[in-house]
Amino acid sequence: MSTTAATPGRAGIFFGEVGKLSAFLRRDFLTAWSYRVTFVSDFFGLILQTVTFYFVGLMVDDSVLPSYGGETASYLEFATVGIALSMFIALGLGRVARAVRSEQMMGTIESVFMTPTSPTTVQLGSVVYDLIYIPIRTAIFLTSAAFLFSLDFDLSRLGAAAVVLVAFIPFVWGLGITTAAGALTIRGSAAGMAFGVSILTLVSGTYVPLELFPAWVESFAAYNPMAIAIEGMRETLLGDAGWSRVATDVLKLLPISFASLLLGIFAFRMALRRERQAGTLGHY
């Protein structure tokens, strides 16, 4: 009766695991789609936020804003890129961090681990939908904002901006998995993540130019991956930065992103090991 007869080899297992990602993707798409109102209101919320910044922008003296490609950006152009990226981080970090915890809360985590699926696949599978959805959402937001408010974005440079974003994604993902590992072992610790993201957002020049901060914040920004990514995207979308500038940003981001991802994977494995030892994986 059993199905143990067929034993896939190492390559078979690998491709089998990759194939399972589409099952996770479908599961999370159907779940998101079942909340249609949330799905749609999410976009309207973003547009409303942009409208708010439009009116705030009317009060801001553009001369205090940095120039990109020799031209001073409007405050709305400046802030829209910040909003897009900070939303990207908040969503990405939050969803990655909560993905496994949600499974724990729903009581499905043990059922998932009762299948012959590797923990890496479960980790990746839990966020694969967001890894696709959030960049698409960010691109739609930037494009919609550009058309609605006649922002002077060079949309032909979206590809270059996307490259910066791709180099930045593993940083967010790694941070998310580390937070998930924390939440797995110390229930409720994910709440601290929101505070951390707020601090990071504040000192990244998301809504306010870094030049207005104390000098030490500006110095810190040189090593702050979020600040690097935001400035990189502004340079590409608002200025005339070429691929060499993109490459510089990517080279700065990649080591940090790689370290963040490694830390996340390590922390998650340790958290799972600890939960199993304690026998509390299924507890919520």
């Binding site: 009766m1 059993s2 190492r10 079942s34 009762m114 012959p116 590797s118 199993r276």
Partner: protein
Amino acid sequence: MTATAWDEPRGRQTAAALGAAAAGADAASIEAQGISRSFGDKRALDDVSLRIEAGKIGALLGPNGAGKTTLLRLFSGLVKPDAGTVRVAGLDPIADARLVRRTLGLIPSGDRTFYLRLSGLENLVFFARLHGMRRRAAIQRAREVIDEVDLTDAAAAPVRTYSHGMQKRLSVARALLTRPSVFLVDEATHDLDPAAARNVKDIVKALCRDGAAVIWATQRIDEIRGFADSVTLLSRGHVLFDGTVPELMSHSIPRRFLLRLDGGGVAGDLGERARHALRDCGSIEATAASGAGGHYTLSIDEGVVLSDALVRLAAVGVDVLACREERSEIEEAFLSLMRQEEV
């Protein structure tokens, strides 16, 4: 570094494990030898051993906190033992996790094991895909098992609209997805109505007839009669009894019975006559009685046999219309063993 249940299985280990399992005399059995497991200071299992052969149902009895669920989690590889060995179909649930999970069907005790926003069918397809089936095969298999548990009409409805019994049947369907040879069933009939409980038991019986080995953990003592082939009684993490159902019942000597009596047309209070007749061999209390007849509870003293008490009642003109044990023999044996343990 210690291996964990979540570690990737190595290809060569997989092949070796299969070979070892195939070489085993009974590939579809469940076995634990001298298992111990603690959580902090609490000893959840202490030197527990049990064995279920292919085609047999082994009941796992015990009060809350006895260690039943911990034992099932050890068999499923979700928890690692501190000491002792566990084998499922000849395989180690930790070292051969991937293979064991293909061989094993788990029906957990809780309701919250499904994605409530998805339909029953979509849930099953998702889990089938995690078992390595391609989408088309997963859909086909999901439809088959959902038919088997009689949920066809509700297949497209979100699980959040399912009743408790329907979710339990969906759990059974999920366990059937890979046609496993070993089933771990944790409180499957808990909170189910009699018809739904019978339905689940019938499915498990049928699986057993097809050669599956089943561990049926329960607190509903009487449901094992005529169902389980063997019983393991756990209390505070250790085995109090391990044997067949008749062997378990031999621990019981019922002393309390429910009687339905009739006065037989004799004048006088029936209860008084009965109490007088039984004065030196037991006692009798009315539960729902009138002067002329009704229901009574009979308690007989040590050394007195039931027939003697009934003869005494007949001698004073009391007709015994019906007589049954107040508690079943299995329940009596269970309580007797538990009392012995407390002493």
